[in-house]
């Protein structure tokens, strides 16, 4: 349940990059930061993944997809779900943030700005359609546990915002 250290064997990176989050298909699990370690020992790969949220229903699918991708590359594998250290949105890579934005999901702000935005105190979340920050919070909870619902006051586009998790 607890990760000792993060290490991902170089040769496995391209394989793991092919696996995407089933709920956000544009985002690879590597860019999402959910793979905490992946080590080959005698053609057998031990992978540790960590959930974004405790109840994330995508984790089982992600585990199965990783196994399938590794099998195709000739490796047997086992997946372990770990909880510590707990996932944070800081682990989403810059490439991942861009993929989110392109997909229509606003990338997480830093913790302080996130709080202001979710309390409706300040307009900080940028519309993924027109780029305006004249947006409003519709609901703190969105289509999945990790997102909140926003709407743009200028172009009226409704969109998801990926909540900051620290």
């Amino acid at each position: 349940m607890i990760a000792e250290k993060q290490h991902i064997d170089q040769i496995l990176i391209p394989i793991l990059e092919q696996v995407s989050d089933p709920e956000i298909p544009v985002l690879s699990i590597m860019d999402m930061g959910v793979v905490r370690s992946a080590v080959i020992e005698n053609n057998y790969v031990k992978v540790q993944i960590t959930p974004t949220y405790s109840g994330c229903p995508a984790m089982d699918v992600i585990g199965d997809d990783i196994k399938a991708a590794l099998k195709e590359a000739g490796y047997s594998s086992e997946i372990e779900l770990i909880l510590a250290p707990a996932w944070t949105t800081d682990w989403i890579t810059p490439r991942g943030r861009k993929a989110l934005e392109d997909y229509g999901i606003a990338a997480p702000l830093d913790a302080e700005a996130d709080k202001e935005a979710l309390l409706g105190n300040k307009k900080l979340v940028k519309c993924t359609n027109c780029g305006s920050t004249n947006t409003r919070l519709v609901s703190q909870f969105g289509s999945t546990a990790c997102k909140a619902q926003f709407q743009c006051n200028d172009c009226q586009e409704p969109f998801d915002y990926f909540k900051c998790l620290k």
Binding site: P51, S54, P57, L83, P85, A86, L119, F141, A145, L165
Partner: protein
């Protein structure tokens, strides 16, 4: 069982989230608006996710063949040790949010302490859950203020809910045998020490919401010892239906 106190201690934490998660899950497709419906079921999902981590750990401690599902689905009413507060019915949105708020404040304070547990699995689950529960508390506090300090009618409905539910809050701070044993070992949280802070936070948010804590000093208790209100049987009937009707079914 070798580690019976630890096992019971874990159930003491997890059962609250299981039953509250089940209550919130009842709102799937029945929330007062699409957004609140999604919010309540999102919170339910977080709680169920946390419960799985606890029950998996408890199953490991038990050391026999039992699984997380056995623990969740196959106990009898008297074997569930959740507090009475979480099993109270949804009634209306005022009750649903007030129950949530009264539990969230406690839950967050509890997890902040559990994070410091010498048991590394429990501290890992707590650290993970805390991030989620702080969102829950923000959500329910927001609704307390919005409805409490809303219209005359919304204020009255919120006050009714507090007047009814407040009597279940004192039990949150009662210690069970397992609690006492685990606090001694540095694993468990001393709930008695959370009471003052809890009252401070609740009072301050209720004041902002123009609501008041009832004066009555009469409190209900029993859930932690397995003595539940009349609602519990109905909850379990629904929760356990599939496993009881089709034993060992999986999907």
């Amino acid at each position: 069982m070798k580690n019976e106190n630890l096992y019971n201690y874990i159930l003491g934490i997890a059962d609250n989230s299981l039953i509250l998660g089940q209550r919130l899950g009842e709102l799937t497709g029945h929330g007062p608006s699409l957004e609140t419906d999604i919010a309540c079921t999102n919170i339910s999902l977080d709680l169920f996710g946390q419960v799985r981590s606890y029950y998996q750990y408890a199953a490991k401690i038990a050391g026999d063949n039992r699984t997380e599902d056995d623990i969740a689905m196959l106990r009898k009413e008297r074997e569930y040790v959740n507090v009475l507060l979480v099993e109270q019915p949804n009634t209306d949105f005022a009750y649903t949010m007030t129950r949530q708020f009264l539990f969230d404040v406690y839950h967050l304070l509890y997890l902040q302490e559990l994070q410091k547990s010498t048991d590394l699995t429990l501290s890992a689950i707590a650290a993970k859950s805390m991030k989620e529960v702080s969102y829950h508390q923000r959500f329910s506090s927001d609704w307390m203020k919005r409805l409490g300090d809303g219209t005359k009618e919304s204020n009255q409905k919120m006050q009714n809910a507090i007047d009814d539910l407040w009597r279940y809050t004192d039990e949150l701070f009662h210690q069970t045998e397992a609690d006492i044993a685990m606090v001694k070992e540095g694993i468990g949280v001393d709930v008695t020490a959370l009471k003052e802070k809890y009252h401070q936070i609740v009072t301050s948010i209720l004041e902002e919401s123009t609501l008041t804590i009832p004066e009555s000093k009469y409190f209900q208790k029993g859930g932690k010892l397995g003595i539940h209100t009349e609602h519990m049987g109905y909850i379990l009937t629904e929760l356990q239906y599939m496993q009881r009707t089709y034993p060992n079914m999986e999907w």
